[in-house]
Amino acid sequence: MAGGFPKEVRGNGLTGIVPVLFAAGLFAYFVSLVPNISSNEVLRWNSAWVPSLGIDLAFLVDGLSLTFALLISGIGTLVLLYSNTYLAGHPQYARFALFLTAFMVSMLGLVLADDLILLFVFWELTTITSYMLIGFSHEGEKSRRNALQALFVTGAGGLAFLAGLILLATFAGTTSISGILTMGDELRAHALYLPILILLLAGTLTKSAQVPFHFWLPNAMAAPTPVSAFLHSATMVKAGIYVMARVHPAMSGTDVWLWTLTILGALTAVFSSLLALRQTDLKQALAYTTLMALGTLTLFLGQESGYAMTAFATFLVVHSLYKASLFLVVGCIDTATGTRETDQLGGLGRLMPITAVAAALAALSMAGFPPFLGFIGKELKYAGAIAVASEPVLVAGAALLSNALMLAVAGVVAFRPFWRGSVPSTQSPQEAPWQMWLGPILLAGLGALFGIYPDLLQVALIAPTVISLTGEVGEVKELKLWAGINVPLMLSIATFVLGLLIYAGHVRLRAFLGRAFAVLPDLDLGWDRFLDGLKAFAKWQTRIVQNGKLSSYLFATFLTIAAGLLLTLVYTGLPTIAVDLSDVEWKHASIALLTIAGAVLALFTNSRIAGIAALGVVGIGIALIFIVFSAPDVAITQLLVETLIVVLVAVVMLRLPSLPKAEFRLSHALLSVAVGASVSLILIAVVSSPLDMRLTDYFEATSWPEAFGRNIVNVILVDFRALDTFGEIAVVVIAALSAYALLRTTRKGGSS
């Protein structure tokens, strides 16, 4: 990739442009909703989906969902524009654009859904589409592994999440989210509150990569850089955050909620900022700072105060803006120089001035310098931390430490490569084309704009978001650049000092952290071990269960049948056996004798052909019974099937070696007797209870007038129950094709 940017930027034609326009259209639409939302309206759109279960295609736009929707579609537009150049001429660009657009739409659906089931559908769609995106460079082994890891971790969380949603719907008696949110007090007092909370958090914390599920996120860096920018800034990982924020009004306020979120959030924030400092790869460093942001957001969601909520909403926007911008900048650096290692980068500022400006703006916002939005976000964070009633020192301490580390990382990522050292002689970097610097500079510029004019953001998005979180207008705190000399300002100054100190010593600190973290268990490695163990276990149990011997399969099958039948008999009580043989005619008796004779012969013969013929006799005996009791259709079918089975079995059997001498197996004999006896008993029980004739009467009465047919059996098959028949013939086709495929493979494998 050291070749730098393509000389002439052609993009990918229509497949490149259409997704950009689509995303831009969505963004424009959401912007047009801003006036409604900032006047505290809530927009709803409803359409029945599964009315029998009360599930609706319900969408809702309020402050919280609009903030997310704007971030998703806005950053989505810029990322798609960027990718069109970044991946110009990629042979699979159409696929990439499709995945990315699908992912964006799923994310939008997720944040707009107002129905639990709908929410879950979009939740899983984001999991699947992000899997496709992370594994986009599918030729790489590592890329596939990391994509699968993300899929498994978030997918497993998704299962728990689904269980939580179902419990929540059971509790509320509705799947409407806005309906559930009004039941907060009942929910918190309910016995199901704890299970619901645990299950929902299992989903959201895995999706948002909180400690100890954090390991998949840095690995997801295997994706192309624009994907990382998108997944990490506004989407994917924020899905968990979004859901926690969405249920916040109904579920927060308990000790469990407070402590789980506060502790995990604080832990993730500090832990991951330390890890971020350790990285030498720019993209990896950014990935860990994302974890820090997620931890901080989780931390604030644990609280209830208006300050915490305002801090949450502000930091959400701040982070999305600078993070997307920085990722895109890293993509530019990578393309220009062919490396992302901090040690090999330097002096890019003069050669890539626009990228450098974008990086600087974003980094200043990230580091929390005034007058950027990041500064306001940080002030609010401290104000929010101090407003925490329970543990202000813990929260403020975690915030202080992680902010200082963030400042240092911002320096490493966005300052050093541009303004320190000189360009190594092996590289000849040049400025990125406009499609690639436009996104970073716009996003970073917004960070500065909103910092200088915080009212813009305040009125448009922050206030409505806080209102959807707290439900009260009075809870909204103002965004101010200068709030006077107060504790947050003191903490900010402390952050700058500490952060600059860390930056100055970051090389030494990195070496120290490397040694320190070596002591901790490597969860990523543990994950591989876990998967290996799982595979070994699967192999072991397959060897036991699927041992390849047909007779043991049949034994297991019939054992299950016998057990089921006998248990039924025990449960319902034995039928009174009063067999009345008075009306048995000679023809009935002779058919029965014939059938029994066939079965006995099949048991004791040593010749395969005799065995097949004997089984055929049994089948034909049964067909005769149908004829005697005037069921000609069934009888014909039975006869034909019997004939075909004999032919088929003969085809196979005649090519096998002749039967070994039949030996007597007690277990098989016992099982046969058990199956036979239980089936007979159940049949006797069925016959002795009066037959319910309602269906028969109905079909007899309606077959001719309604379906114009006299053969009731056939009319049922093709008209009354045609859908069932269709299902059956579909199964027949599938079975035939599977058998065909199986037979073909055995020959290729040479095992037959």
């Binding site: 027949v732 086709v733 035939a736």
Partner: protein, 139 residues
């Protein structure tokens, strides 16, 4: 199986079975028969042919791959079922057309139900032959 009598007999029998299978299917709505039985009967004819003359000849006589027939059958059955939607009925509701119907006589009844039954016939016919041919050839 290398038997001249079987081979010669099969030539006629297979054809007869095929005609008979069609007859069984067409009468199915009012008399014993129908797509399942028809398909089974037709397949028996070709199975017999395959045993007597070998699957190569049987496949040549069939001209089309049996699995193709089965899949077409499934498609036809589905089309017949979806056909009802055109008239605003629930899926798989039988649609009838009585040509030349008078007061006492229903005339020539044409129906989507019959089309569905033809689909069933083809599925059964094709599926059985798919398996039998494969078994004959691969084992």
């Amino acid at each position: 199986m290398n038997s001249v009598i079987l081979r010669v007999g099969t030539r006629y029998l297979a054809g007869l079975l095929l005609v008979f299978s069609f007859y069984m299917m067409m009468r199915g709505h009012n008399e014993p028969g129908g797509g399942f039985i028809g398909g089974l009967t037709g397949a028996t004819g070709f199975v017999l042919y395959a045993i007597a003359c070998g699957t190569h000849d049987a496949r040549a006589a069939l001209r089309v791959l049996p699995q193709t027939i089965a899949i077409w059958g499934l498609g036809i059955a589905l089309t017949a079922g979806l056909f009802a939607a055109l008239f605003g009925d629930d899926l798989f509701t039988g649609q009838w057309l009585f040509i030349g119907a008078t007061e006492n006589d229903k005339g020539l009844p044409l129906s989507s139900v019959l089309v569905f039954d033809i689909g069933v016939y083809l599925v059964v016919f094709g599926s059985i032959l798919t398996i039998v041919f494969a078994m004959e050839e691969e084992i």
